[in-house]
């Protein structure tokens, strides 16, 4: 089984035509550039990318889980637990050790999720939502409900504020994550297995694939991406926060959905993650620039999520109608 290729729907067509999500991203950018003052400045674009970077890294993990036909909510609190773990272990383990401890916690939560989902066939949403709650409770208990400050040294803040060759570290990490995701999904055996299991786990089982192990591995790799993000987040806030990034899972799911990854599993590409993440980051940024109240922010978010999903669902029939019309035009 060296050359396992999973046929992906429309893969040939998509190679030549830019996907709809790319056009959508471009449209949103142009729209905001025209409507929002100071949006299309160099400094602001770097800002947008900076916002996008953490979201992007976590969304890479989310994409893997979604391709598997699952969903992962527990990212929202496992990053919080990681930040607290980092700050608590900092005096004993040093900075690198603290970050490693935090990352290990995220991996542990992911492994627990994966084990429960793969071994007991539990619905992923139930397990990860329960885990989101339990881990949030654990994080708050450990911290006593309040943020714990970390000693702000240059080394501690480097993952969030440092630059390599003038490019901020988070952005580099995000790009590397995307490359890793692309490589995993298209050039590794396990990546192709994720598509197969997500598309039809029964067929995968019948063809001799170890489905449970594949799912378990998927959740661990996904939490690996989240672990990278947790290091950057902890470094950025400079403290152990029980309420760190509670919207992270929802934003990453929304980003993947907006990018066009169907939540039914078996499909999804790295480029779609980029588009979805950029749209959400631009939106968040525009809302801040326009100084809109939270209510509008949430309504806009809802409109974008539901609007794009409905459009994607409708695009099939529209394309078909277009095709039929074109063919009829051709024969006449």
């Amino acid at each position: 089984m060296t050359a396992l290729t999973v046929p992906m729907k429309q893969s040939i067509k998509n190679r030549f035509i830019p996907p709809a999500s790319a056009w959508l991203t471009l449209t949103v950018f142009v729209l905001f550039a025209l409507a929002v003052p100071r949006f299309a400045t160099f400094g602001n674009i770097e800002n947008v990318l900076r916002i996008a970077s953490i979201l992007c890294i976590v969304a890479c993990g989310q994409a893997i889980v979604l391709i598997l036909g699952g969903i992962e909510f527990s990212f929202g609190s496992s990053v919080a637990l990681a930040s607290i773990m980092t700050v608590l272990t900092l005096p004993d383990l040093g900075i690198a050790g603290g970050f490693a401890a935090g990352a290990a916690v995220v991996l542990l939560v992911g492994a627990l999720n994966g084990a429960l989902i793969a071994r007991f066939d539990l619905p992923p949403f139930l397990v990860t939502l329960g885990m989101l709650m339990a881990v949030a409770g654990l994080a708050a208990t450990l911290a006593g409900g309040l943020p714990i400050d970390a000693p702000l040294t240059d080394a501690f803040t480097w993952p969030a504020r440092g630059r390599i060759g003038g490019v901020p570290v988070p952005i580099i990490a995000a790009v590397l994550s995307l490359i890793a995701l692309y490589g995993l999904l298209t050039h590794t055996h396990i990546g192709r297995l994720w598509y197969l299991v997500g598309a039809n786990s029964e067929a995968a089982r019948l063809s001799g694939i170890r489905v449970r192990l594949t799912i378990f591995a998927g959740y661990i790799v996904a939490s690996g991406f989240c672990a990278v993000a947790s290091v950057i987040l902890t470094s950025r806030v400079g403290s152990g926060q029980p309420g760190l990034a509670p919207n992270l899972p929802f934003e990453t799911i929304a980003a993947c959905a907006i990018g066009g990854i169907p939540l039914s599993g078996g499909q999804g590409r790295a480029s779609q993650v980029v588009c979805g993440v950029l749209i959400i980051a631009m939106m968040n940024n525009a809302v801040v620039l326009l100084n809109l109240p939270v209510a509008y922010q949430q309504l806009m978010m809802a409109a974008v999520i539901l609007g794009t999903v409905v459009l994607q669902r409708a695009s099939g029939p529209i394309q078909m109608a277009w095709h039929l019309l074109a063919r009829r035009g051709g024969t006449q």
Binding site: I71, L116, F120, D121, L122, P123, F125, L126, V127, L129, G130, M131, L132, M133, A134, V135, A136, G137, L138, A140, T141, G145, F250, I253, A254, A257, P262, L263, S264, P293, V294, A295, Y296, Q297, Q298, L299, M300, M301, A302, A303, I305, L306, V309, V310, R313, A314
Partner: protein, 323 residues
């Protein structure tokens, strides 16, 4: 039109909720003597119906092989709208709350049943949107005090025949849910959709419409929970209800609703809600921090999934040994 529902293969799943409830009450009664105070029991019974209504609504969504994570936000919105309505039209204005819930449910249903969006994305989008809407209606989350607090307090706290009128209302609506699920074609269709989506097509029932009904019922009951919350608190609470979506799913699953759809019983779901409430209140009484209670609820949610696995496993072993 008569629609026959599948006979549940394993009735034991409905025994889990009373069992959990019994163990929970016993454990807290032993460890915290004040747990059995009349005052405390009354407060549990009162709290329980809010979660109970939510869980019953959630049950309809889960029975149709979906789920609704926007119910917490719907509670906040309907609570706000009920309070605004009551201040504007007098007490009957409270009924705008369930109507708002019905509206949210309809949108959820149309997105899921008609457009074919995954339940998670549709209800997630609605969750964000509905929260935004309740903030928009209330100037970024200001509570809406009821003008007629005295009547609200009478409805919520003065017992008539042992229970305040508001809770009699909740009991009546839960009874109505049982009637809908067991006796009305809508309820049977929802169960049928959950147990076998292909069959429902062959019988000639509209898939989309049945799904829309399930989410409408879910939204409506969330709206009722919002009204109950408003009456109890004497104010419309536009930021309330976070975490309730999870508690309602946990209550419904502990109450024996199959996550694979098609199996549900209202009385068990109410007992499941009672168990979750006992757990929350009991831990609170023990002087345990709310964060630990949060851990407990999270573990209960995962535990309810494991329980479902065990039941399925047992049922399989059972049927195998029979043949």
């Amino acid at each position: 039109m008569r629609v026959h529902a599948p006979i549940p293969r394993f009735g034991g799943r409905f025994l889990v909720a009373p069992l959990c409830l019994g163990i929970g009450v016993l454990a807290f009664a032993i460890t915290a003597p004040e747990f059995l105070n009349t005052g405390n029991l009354q407060s549990i019974v009162a709290q329980m119906w809010i979660l109970g209504l939510l869980a019953v609504g959630q049950m309809f969504a889960i029975a149709s092989r979906g789920f609704d994570i926007s119910v917490g936000a719907t509670v906040a919105l309907s609570s706000t709208i009920a309070a605004l309505g009551a201040n504007f039209f007098g007490l009957p204005g409270l009924f705008l709350g369930p109507l708002a819930g019905l509206g949210v449910g309809t949108l959820n249903g149309v997105l899921i049943g008609f457009v074919g969006v995954q339940p998670i994305v549709a209800t997630l989008g609605m969750l964000v949107g509905v929260r935004g809407l309740s903030l928009l209606l209330t100037d970024d989350g200001q509570v809406v005090p009821l003008n007629d607090t005295a009547t609200a307090a009478r409805l919520a706290f003065d017992p008539v025949l042992g229970l305040p009128p508001a809770y009699w209302g909740a009991v009546a609506f839960v009874g109505l849910a049982a009637w809908i699920l067991n006796r009305l074609a809508v309820g049977r269709r929802i169960l049928m959709l959950g147990s076998n989506p292909d069959a429902i097509h062959l019988v000639g029932i509209s898939f989309a419409r049945t799904q829309i009904r399930a989410y409408q019922l879910c939204g409506f009951y969330a709206g009722l929970a919002g009204v109950l919350l408003t009456i109890r608190a004497g104010t419309g609470l536009p930021t309330e209800g976070t975490g309730m979506e999870l508690q309602s799913i946990a209550a419904a699953v502990i109450g024996g609703t199959a996550l694979s759809g098609g199996v549900a019983r209202v009385s068990s779901v109410v007992l499941g809600a009672a168990f979750v409430q006992v757990l929350l209140t009991g831990l609170n009484l023990q002087g345990v921090s709310p964060f630990v209670a949060q851990i407990a609820v999270g573990l209960v949610i995962i535990g309810s999934g494991l329980l479902e696995y065990a039941i399925r496993h047992l049922a399989q072993v059972n049927s195998r040994s029979r043949t």
